[in-house]
Amino acid sequence: MTPEWIEIGRGLCYAGAGLAFGLAGAGSAYGIAIASHAAAGVMREKPELFGRMLVMVALPGTQGFYGFIAAILIMTQTGLIGGGSLKITLGTGIALFFIGLGDGIAQLMSAIKQGEASAAGISLIARRPESAGRAILFPAFVETYAVVALLATILFIIFLTQPSIIQQAVR
C-alpha cells in the first residue's frame, strides 16, 4: 500500500470524526433551543418552575457529548492523539468515515427529536407541576437510541483499529 493511499485513509477517518461531533453538536444545540423556547415561555408565567425546566432543557445536550466521545475515540485509536500513528488503509478510512457520519446523523436526529419531546414535557409540567417525574421519562426514551448509536460506534472504532487487523490488511 502506497503512502498516498494511507494518507487518503487517514483523511477519511478524520473527516468521519469531524462529522460525528459536528452533527451531534449541531443537533444538541437545536434540540436545546427548541426546549429553551418552551421553558422560557413557561417561566414568564411560572418562574418558580425554573429547576424542573432546567433538567428538561439540558436533556438534548447529551448527544453533543456522545459525538465528542466518538470523535476523540477515532483520534486516539488512529494515533492522532497520543502518537504511535497507525497505517490506516483506504478501506478502514472509508469505514470510519461512514461510522462517524452514521453516528453524527443518529445523534443529530435524536437531539432534535428529544428537544421536541422535552418541549412537550415542559408543557405538561407547566399545566401539572406534580407530573415532572413522569414528564422526564418520554424524552429519556429518545436518549436510548443515541446511547445505542454511541455504543455501536465505539465497538466499530475499537475493532476496526486493532493493530493486528490493520497490519494484516497492509500486508
Binding site: G41, V42, K46, R127
Partner: protein, 336 residues
Amino acid sequence: MTTLTTSLLPPSLKNRPEWGFVCGRISALEGKLLSKEFYPSIIEMHHTEDIFQHLQGTFIEDYLGPGIPWEDFSAVADRCFYDLAVSIREDSPSPVPANLFLIRNDYLNIKYALSRMEGVPFLPGTISEHIIYSVLDRDYGDLPAPFRERITGPAMDLDELDETASDVFVDGAYLRHMLDLAAQIDSPLIQVCVLELVVGHTVSALWRVLRQGRDLKSIVDYMMPLGEENSLVFELSDMPDPAVWPDIIGGEIGDLFSRALQMPYDEQISTFELKVTNLVLHMATYARFETSGPERVFDFLMALEAEMQNLKLVVTGKINRIDADVLGARLRYVGG
C-alpha cells in the same frame, strides 16, 4: 351548497419551534382555565361576596378591585380578555391568530361610527382610535382593505344605506377580513375553524335580516364577496324560508341549523350561534395535540373568550336573577 370541512377529522398539525415561547407560556396559562364544574357552582351561589371569593385565582381576579361595581363585570371581562390577547400577540411570531379575535372590536367600533355616534366604545384591536374617528368624517381611506376595497370597487355610498344594510356591509367586511387573515397563516386547522365561523356568522346575519321582514335579495349584495361562500349566500337569499336552509347549508353547520329550528322561535338564532361557537371550540381543541404552533394560540384564545363569555353570562345572570336552567343552557363549551 357549501363545501364544509371534514370537521370530525383532525387537520394535520406540525410543530413549529419559533412558536415555542408563546406556546410554553400558553401551557402555563392553560392551567388557569376554568373547569366545567366551576360555572354551575357560581350559578348556585346566592351572595355576590361568595362569587367574588370564588373568582379568586382566575384570570379575572386582578381586574376585580374592591371598588368595581358588579354592573361593570362585562366590561371587566372584556378588558381581561383584551389585555391577555394583546400580550399573547406581542409574544407571537405572527399576529394573525390573536388578530382573528381582536378585529371583532374594530368592526363593532366601525359600526358605531357609521351610526354617527361619537366615541370608541370597544377596545381597539388593530385599528387605532383616530382612524375610527375619521370614519365620522366619512374618511374611510385608512380602514382595512376588506372594508376599503368594497367602497372603492363597485360604487357604494355608505351614507345612503339604512342601519340594517350598513350592518350587513360591515359584517361582510369583517368576515372577509377573517378569511384574509386565515389565508395568511399556514395552518389547516385555523383555516377550517375560521371557515366554519364565517359560514355560521353569515347564516345568522342573513337569518336576522330575514326576521326583520327584509327582502334578502335586496340586501345580500352588501355582504359580498365572501370567496367560496358566495354561492351559499346567493342560494340562501333565493329561499326566504329558513326551513329549507339546512339542506342548502349542508354539513355540520346545516345539522346545527336544523336543530336550532326545533327550539322556540325567540331562541332559534341565539341557539344556532351558540352551537356554531361550540363546534369551533371543540374543533380547536385538536391543537392540544401539538407542542408549538399558531394553532395552540388560536385554541387558547377561543377557550379564553368562551370562559369570559361564560363568566359574563353567569355573573350578570345571577345579578339579574335569571333562572339557573336558562343560564346553564347558554354556557359555551368548556374543553377538558
